[in-house]
């Protein structure tokens, strides 16, 4: 049995008929076709499926699509207009804040919420704010530097 849902993703209404057990991350990737959001551990630990759900970060592998019906979602694709990079994306690029890139969408979405709450975090606060996001490549140093750099260029935006 399927249920009709409608979720606003990156400002655009996305309607679909889904099984109640479908996870939001699969709706985003398969129904909306936005594959920036990744499925990693699938146990709400690694954070690569992090999106903004009604304004706050959420792990899309631990939310049912039907739960989110009527809500607004922002994914990594929604951060920039497609021409200019978001300052966080720019900073991850400039600081080599990624190697394989699999964790990056979630890292940036989590960092985005961190900076919205705390526009100039210390390196320690950045580490604490990103503790729900796991990277297996970088050793985190450059990720922390990237967020620090983005905070400066966003200037409390």
């Amino acid at each position: 049995m399927t249920i009709p849902v409608e979720i606003t993703i990156n400002g655009k209404a996305c309607a679909g008929e889904v099984e109640p057990r479908q996870l939001l991350v699969h709706f985003i990737r398969e129904n909306a076709g936005l594959t920036g959001t990744k499925v990693g551990c699938d146990t709400s630990q690694c954070g690569t499926c992090t999106v903004q759900l009604d304004g706050v970060s959420a792990k899309a592998c631990t939310v049912l699509t039907v739960q989110a019906s009527g809500s607004s979602v922002t994914t990594i694709e929604g951060l920039s207009d497609g021409v200019d990079l978001h300052p966080l994306q720019e900073a991850f690029w400039n600081n080599h804040g990624l190697q394989c890139g699999f964790c990056t969408p979630g890292m940036i979405m989590a960092a985005n919420e961190l900076l919205s709450r705390n526009p100039s975090p210390s390196r320690e606060e950045i580490r604490h704010g990103l503790e729900g996001n796991i990277c297996r490549c970088t050793g985190y140093q450059n990720i922390v530097s990237a967020v620090e750099d983005a905070a400066k260029s966003m200037g409390g935006r």
């Binding site: 057990r21 146990t43 992090t50 792990k59 939310v63 049912l64 739960q67 704010g129």
Partner: protein, 288 residues
Amino acid sequence: MFPAQITYRRAGSVAEAVQLLSDNEGAKLLAGGHSLLPLMKLRLAAPATLVDIGRIEALKGVSASDGGITIGALTTHAEIAGSDLVQQHASVLAEAAALVGDPAVRNRGTIGGSVSHADPASDQPTVLTALGATFNVTGPGGDRSIAAADFATGLLENALEENEVLTSISVPSVPSGAGAAYVKFSHPASRYAVVGAAAILTVSGGTCSSASVVVGGVEATPARASSVEAALAGSDLSDSALDAAAAAVAGDLNGDPMSDVFASAEYRRAMASVYVRRALGAAASRAG
């Protein structure tokens, strides 16, 4: 990983949720889903029907009440961590909420969902037991209250009847002059408490007049550390008194400590005294 097939119903009110639970045998409530959905993916839970109460506004938020605060069951960990009222009346609850999972988990996970899940490795059941909180529930027969200490009845089991809904939690104010603290040994991946310790110490005239100490993560339900409390009563809360009191926790953990690949029963027992000592130290430094 998908959960098994389910029927999904969204409840618009507590009364409707109670009705849906009564009408659908084996139905389970869904709040933030951060405890239940992981279990369902692993097929450790397979309810035929989920009754989603996540949008019932009446169950959200913190309000002042007689002698303390009332926290709606759907209030998220992030909201509790950032609540001025919680900070004023029972700051230890905010301290613990800020240690749950990670920021994204705290945004979605709710206090009612967490305590109903009754995982001894969760943080808030330990703190709420130490605070002497009361859980308010609504069922077909009306409302009733359950003491926090009686709510968890076993590993992942609680005192709710099948068609009852936990609606709010009443938390008495920590008395002025008392010091309270919660510390935990976090599992490095899941952030669940391998061991969590909550301590509330009331001090008058330089001696401890009453103590409430509870340990989570070690036994199937939050364990009251009666021996530690007895050792503290009347003590001067000096370092040596706290050392001796914390060591007494061994006598309170005679049950069957949990054991897994990450932490054996013996290790959990050893860490219990370490973390109780830290909680006592922090609470004592905040008392008076």
